[in-house]
């Protein structure tokens, strides 16, 4: 393991004094701070709440880690820390929503989505309450904290729930766009975030419509359909493959449910093959969702790339992304193998 990997792994949480770890750093492991956007969750929600008295925010003893303390600092009367009691937090948010509020509740994705799955379904989605469950530190971004803290099943578990919008943010600017689009979106939402250090995909807050994918790069030989933390890796891989003479389309499928089937059909019709890339168990997530669309279409080369269907190793996140070939070189090599086998 390199020193950089160790350094990167150690820095994910905020401080407890209301200061933001990353915002106040000029660099992390030699990388400029602006290249590692910290969460803007609390900051953006605080700004939105200035004009919208319906917005309330809650967390489960993770206000500094998920930056909801940036909201608390501005709107203490509309912030609730429920302590380590995620089920109560999610259901209480549904109760608040039933009284006209728009609650955003945030905790680590493994606890929000897996521990709170029934509360999300029964108390938020089924009665169509406008609760926004924000799962931070998703995938294996918790690195050496281990399987209890990894969320590699959340998309699969939640996308099968009716009346629940499931959406992933690739970076800080897309998170801002998602939050702004979410306020008046009907029904419940699950918003999946990385660990707040995701590489930049969007230089500015993108135009975003929930349920409509964003085509980031045109191509004719292959479409990479990806989401969240993997968008940057796919764009970088596409750039490398272009040097090989391969034309790769990259689609940011930020909304997993409802899925943009039109964009998938277009990719099937217009490009030679489809590769899905996700930081999630290969079973049940984005790749499975795309496969459900493709099964009704004429056959074309298709492959899912993600985490194998087993609990992953522990290690610093960067090492894990490399190990599971979910960094740009890894995605590049997977794409090359796929295209070679498809020919």
């Amino acid at each position: 393991m390199t020193t950089d990997m160790q350094n990167e792994a150690e820095i994910f949480r905020g401080t407890t004094d209301g200061e933001t770890t990353f915002k106040n750093r000029k660099s992390v492991s030699g990388t400029p701070a602006q290249g590692m956007p910290a969460f803007v969750l609390g900051e953006e929600l605080a700004r939105m709440a200035q004009d919208d008295p319906r917005i309330v925010v809650a967390t489960a003893d993770l206000a500094s880690a998920n930056r909801t303390n940036d909201f608390k600092a501005v709107h203490p009367d509309r912030f609730f820390d429920f302590g380590i009691a995620e089920k109560n937090m999610i259901t209480a948010a549904a109760g608040m929503a039933a009284c006209g509020m728009v609650p955003y509740v945030a905790t680590f994705a493994s606890f929000a989505a897996i521990l709170g799955a029934e509360q999300i379904r029964t108390d938020c989605a089924y009665p169509r309450m406008p609760v926004r469950v924000v799962g931070t530190h998703s995938g294996m971004s918790m690195g050496f904290y281990g399987s209890s803290h990894h969320a590699l099943e959340d998309l699969g578990m939640l996308r099968v729930m009716a009346d629940l919008t499931v959406i992933c943010a690739a970076d800080a600017n897309q998170l801002r766009a998602i939050l702004r689009a979410s306020v008046d979106h009907p029904g419940a939402m699950y918003i999946r975030l990385g660990r707040g250090r995701d590489p930049v995909v969007y230089d500015d807050v993108p135009d975003l419509k929930i349920g409509r994918a964003i085509r980031l790069r045109e191509g004719t030989d292959l479409t990479m359909i990806t989401t969240g933390s993997q968008v940057r890796a796919c764009l970088d891989a596409a750039e490398t493959l272009a040097a090989d003479g391969l034309s790769v389309r990259v689609v940011d499928m930020h909304t997993i449910s409802p899925l943009d089937a039109d964009e998938i059909r277009a990719a099937a019709a217009e490009t030679g093959a489809i590769l899905t890339v996700e930081e999630h168990n290969i079973t049940g997530g984005l790749g499975s969702a795309v496969a459900e669309v493709l099964i009704d279409l004429p056959r074309l080369p298709f492959r899912r790339h993600g985490v194998p269907d087993r609990y992953v190793e522990v290690g610093p996140p960067a090492a894990l992304y490399s190990h599971y070939r979910l960094d740009a070189p890894g995605v590049t090599s997977v794409a090359r193998e796929f295209l070679a086998s498809a020919r």
Binding site: D77, K87, T91, A93, G95, D123, P127
Partner: protein
Amino acid sequence: MSDRSNVNFAVLEDRARFIRTETVRLSRIAGAGHYSSTFSCAEILSALYYSQMRIEPTQPDWPDRDRFVMSKGHAAIGLYPVLADLGYFDPSELDSYTRLGSNYGDHPDMKKVRGLDFSSGSLGHGLSVGVGMALAGRVQGRDYRSYVMLGDGEISEGQIWEAVISAGHYQLGHLVILLDRNGLSIDGHTEDIMGIEPVHERFASFGWDVQRVDGHDLPSVIGALTALPQGTTGKPQAIIFDTVKGRGVKRMEMSLDWHVGNLVGEDYDDVMAELEAGLQPYEPEPAQ
């Protein structure tokens, strides 16, 4: 809006019997029903809805209304007739109870039933809903109460105690637990299945004010409800109602056979006769 100062106990007693007759009638439509756990809370429902709650059936979305969460959702069969009786919807709608496409299923759905403040069914969630409703009231500067009817079996769920802790922490003085302490859950006596006593002390130790009264004695029920303090802060309130599962029908009282059952034929006629003797239709008292 109800007049809280002038309680007509005869009317409330009649309405409790009405809840029971409707439960029997609707169960026959469905072919099965949760008789006994609905009967045990009939007086509590009657006292709440016909006397104590600040509600306006012509405005089911009135923001300042008191909220009620039927956390033991299987007693919805006793709540629907009350809502119909008060004018939230036409009582004839209940004839569709549990039929394909009906708004009225065994467990309550707030998106389908006018007058319901929340959906329920999965036990152990309702108190958290009440916590959220009370917190929302505080943010909005409203003084409504949030009442949550809990079954004594469901408080074994861990989420209940998460909610109990948070209500004490946030000093939700306008949150009220109505615990239907009927002593039986599906598999047997609660104290044999999973003991919850001393439940009074357990709530109190988490910072709640606790009363314990006979849940079938209407003056006691009304007394406990009217003793609730005003104001939106302070200790949350728990009322433990000692009740009898199946109360009102001799063959059902404290019987494990009637959590879910089906009365047919002469049995149905006998039970209805037992319940209906002298029952009067509801006539709201004129507005003051």
